[in-house]
């Protein structure tokens, strides 16, 4: 890596005579400092990403004759994939999951919470905040247990509904998608809430007050002044929440295993089933690649929305 020292130890001390030598020294220092990170990222992060592109075009398998002789098979995995009704189902399930769990669920609920909590009694605000954040801090696998129990035939939800005269429903079988969506909203909303709280705190109160003096209704203030002002946070948050939800495996796997049937088989679950249950690693990798490409597209949007200066 080439380097021009902004300021290096030697410039600070003598300044001037052997600048080439010094420059070399900072180059070496940077290389040494960056080396461990580079090595780890190259082997365990960038390596697997590159392998995805390779394996996706092979008939790599864990069992059978293909396990011995892995061959390059061109676009076969993708041809199979696009003809596989299960793949199409998974894409649809993923879109539904992203839309209702991330974009609508967590975003909207997080925003409502942040908005309503603004300028409320601090103790009340704190209690609600802690409850919401508790769901966020809880590890995904425990979130799954909480919700399996809550939605169980004889779980809390059915017990409550029975009190008001409803018959118990096997939620995880009757409404599997809604169940895993709600569980993920419960788990993730705190992040959006915290982001929007920070964003709303940055909106100067004087601007809102001026609008009210000019006769704007509460809704108009929100729609015409507050929302445009926090637009950046909304976009960035939406992208981050989408990326997080795109990778959700544990929650769905532990709650429904992707079922019943294919009812909650999002792409990560489909990928897992093909690679590790049906032992078709090549096909599984092809699905990974699709997942990765969606991730890449959303990440690029993220970088654009951030307008980062590094």
């Amino acid at each position: 890596m080439d380097a021009n020292p902004v300021i290096s130890p030697s410039t600070a001390v003598d300044g001037g005579s052997s600048s080439r030598k010094r420059q070399n020294r900072t180059v070496w220092a940077s290389i040494l400092f960056l080396l461990p990170a580079w090595l780890l990222l190259l082997v365990f992060f960038i390596g697997p990403i590159l392998l995805t592109f390779y394996f996706a075009f092979t008939n790599l398998s864990l069992t059978g004759s293909e396990a011995q002789a892995t061959q390059f098979i061109g676009f076969s995995n993708f041809m199979n994939m696009f003809q596989d009704p299960n793949f199409r189902i998974s894409v649809m399930k993923t879109v539904i999951y992203l839309l209702f769990s991330a974009i609508i669920g967590q975003q909207v609920l997080g925003f409502i919470l942040a908005l309503l909590m603004k300028e409320k009694n601090p103790a009340f605000r704190r209690v609600i905040g802690i409850i919401i954040i508790a769901g966020w801090v809880t590890p995904e696998i425990v979130v799954a247990f909480c919700w399996v129990a809550f939605l169980n035939d004889s779980g809390t939800l059915n017990a409550l509904l029975q009190q008001v005269g409803f018959k118990p429903i096997a939620w995880l079988f009757t409404f599997p998608m809604a169940s895993v969506i709600i569980a993920n909203i419960w788990h993730g909303t705190a992040f959006s809430m915290l982001v929007f709280q920070a964003a709303l705190d940055d909106v100067p109160k004087s601007i809102e007050e001026a609008a009210v003096v000019d006769g704007a209704s509460r809704f108009q203030v929100l729609y015409k002044i507050v929302l445009p002002m926090i637009k950046g946070s909304v976009v960035t948050n939406m992208i981050l929440v989408t990326l997080q939800t795109l990778g959700v495996f544990t929650l769905i796997y532990a709650m429904t295993g992707g079922g019943p049937g294919t009812a909650t088989q999002t792409l990560p679950i489909f990928m897992y089933n093909q690679a590790f249950v049906n032992y078709q690693l090549g096909y599984g990798t092809a699905i990974s690649l699709i997942l990765l490409l969606i991730g890449v597209i959303v990440s690029v949007l993220y970088l654009k929305s951030m307008k980062v200066k590094v």
């Binding site: 380097a3 400092f33 990170a37 409850i131 990778g247 990928m271 890449v296």
Partner: protein
């Protein structure tokens, strides 16, 4: 009269909506807490028939669970320390020198923070087989470290930018080397940042189920995140009390560390501010 009434509703309404949401959020969590101390817990919230710590006792006294907790702790702590160390070193030249490839490098790092790890697990598994690392806790730790690095490098670089260069310069004039300056001047001033990154990294891998589930096969090597899932599969539907106790013990470190980290991350969520990079 009308006006006063509507004012009152406007004041009470947010509180009632928030209370309803709060209760709905609390219910699933409340069950775990109550069931863990109930000798006859079932899947519904109910007043416990008696108060007992037997559920916790039976989870803690099972050597299989103790082993899983220790493995989980070692895995996450080892990963956390490695991430902080390696990312801290990498952050130094990125923060202090004008490198020609700094901009693309930082963009790559930021880009990698947002890629879903789930998407690379199948090739990672294959890579582990090639490298004879399958079923290796060290391999798993290194993979988790690499997965945690992009976020850590990004954060630590920004934290390091905030440490004034003048302090280091005066140390250099006194004859300190770059390494000594980093160790004695920069690192101590970055302790809040290092703690935040360390805690987030630790919690991330402590709660990670998918990675060890794919990479580790021997039951004796599984960390708590996977054993709790197996416990759920084997006894979950019968022994609700024990599952709840296990869940609480497993969640505990994450909650304690979050509370600890909170004091360092007062402005962590201002995405608008983050764009200043």
């Amino acid at each position: 009269m009308m006006k006063r009434k509507s004012m009152k509703i406007e004041k009470v309404l947010p509180y009632s909506i928030l209370t309803v949401i709060g209760v709905l959020f609390l219910l699933p969590l409340l069950w775990v807490v109550i069931a863990s101390v109930d000798p006859n817990a079932n899947s519904s919230i109910k007043l416990p028939s008696a108060f007992t710590l037997d559920n916790f006792k039976s989870v803690i006294t099972d050597p299989v669970n103790i082993r899983a907790f220790i493995i989980g702790l070692l895995l996450s702590m080892g990963q956390g320390l490695l991430v902080v160390l390696v990312a801290g070193l990498a952050a130094y030249p990125l923060s202090r020198y004008q490198l020609r490839y700094k901009k693309p490098f930082m963009f790559t790092i930021l880009f990698m923070t947002s890629l879903p790890i789930t998407a690379v697990m199948v090739p990672v598994y294959q890579l582990f087989i090639y490298m004879k690392l399958q079923d290796s806790l060290w391999g798993t730790m290194f993979f988790l470290t690499a997965a945690g690095l992009p976020y850590a490098i990004w954060m630590l670089k920004n934290f390091m930018d905030a440490v004034p260069l003048e302090l280091e310069e005066s140390a250099w004039i006194d004859g300190a080397s770059v390494w000594q300056g980093l160790k004695r001047i920069v690192a101590p001033l970055m302790i809040p940042g290092i703690c935040t990154v360390g805690i987030f990294t630790f919690s991330g891998s402590w709660g990670n189920f998918f990675v060890p589930y794919i990479l580790i096969q021997t039951p004796e090597k599984l960390p708590a995140s996977v054993t709790i899932y197996q416990f759920f599969g084997n006894f979950g539907m019968v022994e609700y009390g024990k599952l709840a106790a296990f869940s609480i013990l497993y969640t505990f470190p994450a909650i304690v560390l979050y509370i600890f980290a909170q004091r360092f991350m007062s402005q962590g969520f201002s995405l608008g501010g983050a764009s200043k990079g």
